[in-house]
Symmetry: C2
Subunit: 436 residues, 2 copies
């Protein structure tokens, strides 16, 4: 902990500290010491650390310190939230919400450096903090102007795919691993013909020996063209271009050449830079996938909340953002899914909204509740096995989802609608068995 007399040097002063110089960080933390002291130390750790030089009178805090805007003890307890090495022998636990103003000049508009400051060693090894969670980040316009945000946004995607007044219907081609490019793309084509707007690679799909990226995308591009022609409306394939970072841009250019409609990156695994590079250099819509988010934020009181990572994907140019979806399958509360959806849709300076795609375990029968929980149609409804595991093939799988949407739109019960729609009926027979 910093010496107690230093606490006041880490208080935000709205008179002197210009708001546009700071990100606003919302933290939850638990400590057994004086919360204000701990919060001030925590500000020091994530910014100036040792803020003066022995023998010098310079004070680096006015310009460089992270500063405490507000602090509230929301709960006191005699047991810790988690048994961790630091909680041993402690008797009192203060649970706190803190707002911290962090000067963005310290790291600049670079995500790797931003994360090193707001989600790095200074935060997660802060002294006397047992558990800590970064709940949210607010960005001033001065910082946002360094980021391009989505190139197309939701309206651009609606325009491109001629999808109006309904969710986008998306299918993840399965089996995701092991099929040759031609068979794989035939599946995508069947799904698109059946009623998907978008077919896509799984996030584990790589540039593999049995399915080299350039060959897979050549076939997938052809599948899009065929399906568009048959359906009489535009169709899209999203290619996973996640790879060693120096290959990502090359992969994106392969996607452009092949005429698939969009690309996807797993930014928590590649680093966020690859999103920015593709956003800058390639004019295709881009999707960011959430893989890794559970690792950063599964625990209710630890880590980095998924909405923070969702916002960063939007800053870095994602038009579509995959997030963990509703229901028991994804072990994510509805509240958290809705926070991520907000992170895609709520105003964020001049940046366009991104299309949220909550997913995991969805199929025809879950569409109605996903739609009613979200409360509008600005989302992508995504299924994997729900389309490609349909016993009558991906065309029927895609159709079962369109039928579910019709039932939902006409406010008819799914069971009743299925009586006259065999694809939906077969989906219910096939997939209800796996529900718990």
């Amino acid at each position: 902990l910093i010496p107690r007399r230093e606490i006041t040097g880490f208080r935000f002063d709205p008179e002197k500290d210009a708001a546009e110089r700071y990100l606003r960080l919302q933290f939850f933390f638990e400590t057994s010491k004086d919360p204000e002291w701990v919060a001030a130390s925590f500000c020091a750790e994530q910014s100036t650390a040792q803020w003066s030089l022995p023998g010098s009178r310079d004070d680096l805090r006015p310009r460089h310190a992270a500063k405490l805007v507000s602090l509230r003890v929301v709960e006191e307890a005699d047991r810790p939230l988690y048994d961790l090495p630091s909680t041993k022998g402690e008797k009192r636990f203060f649970r706190c919400l803190a707002e911290i103003a962090h000067p963005h000049e310290n790291f600049g508009p670079r995500i790797a450096n931003l994360l090193s400051a707001i989600a790095g060693e200074g935060v997660f090894y802060a002294p006397w903090v047992h558990t800590i969670q970064l709940l949210d980040v607010g960005f001033p316009e001065l910082y946002l102007k360094n980021f391009q945000g989505p190139r197309y946004g939701i309206e651009g995607l609606r325009e491109r795919l001629k999808v109006r007044d309904r969710p986008f219907f998306i299918g993840v081609v399965k089996p995701n691993i092991g099929l040759d490019p031609r068979r794989f793309s035939q599946l995508a084509e069947r799904g698109l013909e059946g009623g998907l707007d978008i077919a896509k690679d799984d996030e584990m799909q790589a540039d593999a020996p049995w399915s080299p990226l350039s060959e897979r995308l050549r076939w997938a591009g052809e599948a899009c063209r065929q399906a568009s022609e048959k359906a009489g409306c535009p169709k899209m394939f999203i290619a996973n271009i996640t790879d060693e970072e120096e290959k990502v841009l090359e992969n994106a250019q392969i996607a452009v050449k092949a005429g698939v409609g969009a690309v996807m990156i797993n930014p928590l695994m590649t680093g966020f830079s690859s999103l920015r590079k593709v956003r800058r250099e390639v004019s295709l819509p881009m999707m960011g996938h959430f893989t890794g988010m559970a690792l950063w934020g599964r625990h209710p009181h630890y880590g980095v909340k998924s909405r923070v990572l969702t916002k960063l994907m939007r800053l870095c140019g994602c038009d579509l953002i995959g997030i963990a979806g509703f229901g028991k399958r994804m072990q994510t509360t509805a509240e958290e899914v809705l926070e991520c959806i907000d992170a895609c849709l709520q105003p964020l300076g001049p940046l366009l909204p991104a299309l949220p795609i909550p997913g995991g375990g969805d199929w025809a029968a879950t569409l109605s509740s996903v739609h009613s929980t979200i409360g509008h149609s600005n989302f992508g409804f995504i299924a994997g096995r729900g389309v490609f595991g349909h016993p009558d093939g991906p065309g029927a799988g895609a159709l079962s989802i369109r039928q579910a949407w019709e039932a939902c739109r006409q406010k008819i019960s799914l069971g009743a609608y299925a009586e006259t729609h065999p694809e939906l009926k077969r989906a219910i027979e096939a997939f209800s068995l796996h529900e718990e």
Copy 2:
């Protein structure tokens, strides 16, 4: 969960499954269902998922499935390890260790794709798994041969810096943020003259307006040359080149030109690709910093163990690897620190060992216990404020550490040795106050 009859399709068969095609993953998990069923489903989720195509007899599992090698229920309990959404209403909790063989062909020698498979959605959203931790990864030679590993390794560093039969002494220049390049580098120079082998940037140091990287490194290179000349032995400065990924290589080339001795990257924030690129293109020693590791693995039963990430840094070419160190400050058990040290030092195919640098809160007085806990001298001893916060300046701070080493080597108590060594005495007076 997969249908129960499919369990057998996810068992590893040492007769048929060639060992060199598989990574060996050690997992801990907790479930309330039949552990073998859950483990098989878990294998499916992280690899083939839907492994057959409706209407086709092809079985993708022999080549592409992750497979269960062994499973052991180590504990049964009536309370979960963590209260998470999935544990609600459950009564029995089986805690299991599973070894899984994962075919590396599925993702290839690409870290972003590897992590998407072994630490991604398939793992952390596996059905009926309440909590899960990736404990360790074993790599066959066939996979390792894709990675260069450290260029210099420990012996190369000892050769370069003429450091024999003792730990390397390393100082993180503080204040880390806010000093102009010249003053910053003067501090580094004082520390190197005083007895550090290596001075380095903090992991939060960026290419900042008040300290542009090229200027800071020009001064830091000069500081190394001056200090080497005065001390009569080689000295090194490690430059943090963490940045947007496309700048990392450019930054490394600035470091080469400036004549600083080494570079550092925060790979959990940039992505591991930047390590590999710098390893390939730049002939300086490279350090990987652990910032972000707590986020991936602070919890004792969740996430990815730090030794896994440490190994990946070694694969990708780090000669020096920063890890969270001993003592209460870093909230890391001694066992975990030692596991990371092993990940640096233990045989790993043809790859050289990397120098482990456990750190956080260390200063002269902690050297002896760090050394005796590790049991040998193949490590870097690192201090920030312990050198640069010394009341008589960084020269005295560095000297206090060399004195502590002499006391340790001669088996004299620190207090007794301090009586005749004023720098050590002053360090004890200044820093013991902050100890708890």
